[in-house]
Subunit: 229 residues, 2 copies
DNA sequence: CACGAAAGACCGACCGTCGGTCATTTTACA
DNA sequence: TGTAAAATGACCGACGGTCGGTCTTTCGTG
């Protein structure tokens, strides 16, 4: 094979891009290092020059995804005119907007990531996004505590709990995906939507707010994401 | 090797016991099928006669652990004289008692299960216990809703959320384990204890109860478990 | 500017391990 | 004694990872 030399960062990103596409297409375990290097025409040694193990790919990809996600909502987070509740709701609204915007890609990824055999991939993505979001949400909650609107003893613990709430949707989402294409699809989407609303209520209560203060979903959101192609 | 024939159930349990011990000693990935069969002196084919994949071991072991755990608190769950809040607190108290009783074994398992490379093992155990506990907790919450003491729209969703709260302790526990033997151990245990108390408050609030109604830990519990040898 | 050597990006054959298969043998029991 | 189930262990293919070596780029030096 002809030897093509690239700047290390470019090559690294090229590998990451290829691996990410494959992971979201086949899952982590079912993607081999050989698959990745074949996709971009690189040798085994070349790959291991940039990454010390297949596992490194997972770490790098999930970190990159999480960083990208947080970068896209930075403007809301840094607007000094917002009080804590507005900041929190703005943060959640931006996140939803992002999800709706590339709903088709997201939905396709869901189909793979929520399969039982890809549990590890799911949890890694989750852990990475929690790691990135934790300081952000902690900041918002600390601000709200200072403002006297959030009644929590420990902002960081509250942030961790709320972020993990997202993980508890795993089964509900998986059930909805499983129902796709069946007669129960419509009902499954409604059930998921109702469940997500309750998560919003759970957040309200954990923060010591009246029910409905932090809407987790808006009308049509769940359906828009789950029926995207 | 001499051929020893046993009743299928006995053999199955023997394999399960050996695998469980190894998983809690080295983790799932680092335990090979050869390790398991070597431990009890059985052949490869013999193993695959009883289990269709290594993955099956995980499923069977986690299911068995979860079943055992729920069986041990059955008496509290079936006592008809208890109202919902008493039942919930009794259920949690029994769970704590179990943990304190075999704290040394538990702590040793923690050391392995909470290592980052054993994330899958941790999540599998968690998922299995949630699967078993969900109907139980759903029943308790539904009773409380009927009694008018728990203010939740959907008992099953509430049960799922509360059970997943346990998972959100993962990082906090991992941090405490990491601090074992260092100068910060004492502070780490206190921090974990405080965090667990907050989880109790979160449960209170999700169920619409006044703070302190559902104590998640009692004095000394966290320290007892985390310092056991 | 020329050039030679160090750095490091890249190659690909090779290796050990591991999960899993299968033809065969042994045992229990009706 | 026939047969279904239990158990054997040699074998397989795929996979993650290694390693000796090659080729390109960069940069200090005369």
């Amino acid at each position: 094979m002809p030897r093509i030399v690239k700047r290390p960062d470019d090559r690294r990103n090229e590998i990451l891009d290829a691996a990410q596409a494959l992971f979201f297409e086949r899952g982590y375990e079912r993607t081999t290092v050989n698959d990745v290097i074949a996709q971009i025409g690189i040798s085994k040694g070349g790959f291991y020059h940039h990454f010390s193990a297949k596992e490194d790919l997972l770490e790098a990809i999930t970190a990159r995804l999480a960083q990208d996600a947080v970068a896209r909502v930075r403007d809301v987070l840094e607007d000094p005119s917002l009080d804590a509740l507005a900041r929190l709701n703005g943060f959640l609204a931006s996140s939803r907007q992002m999800k709706v915007e590339d709903a088709p890609k997201l939905r396709a990824a869901f189909d793979v990531v929520f399969r039982p055999e890809n549990l590890l991939l799911y949890h890694r993505i989750n852990a990475a996004s929690i790691a990135v979001m934790r300081p952000v949400l902690t900041g918002i909650i600390a601000q709200g505590k200072k403002e006297g609107v959030f009644a929590v003893p420990d902002p960081e613990a509250a942030a961790e709990i709320i972020l993990h709430l997202g993980a508890s949707t795993h089964d509900a989402v998986a059930r909805t995906i499983a129902a796709t294409g069946t007669a129960g699809e419509d009902a499954a989407i409604d059930a998921l939507d109702q469940r997500l609303r309750f998560y919003g209520v759970a957040v309200d209560r954990i923060l010591g707010l009246p029910d409905g203060s932090v809407p987790f979903v808006e009308p049509g959101f769940t359906r828009a994401v789950m029926t995207a192609r």
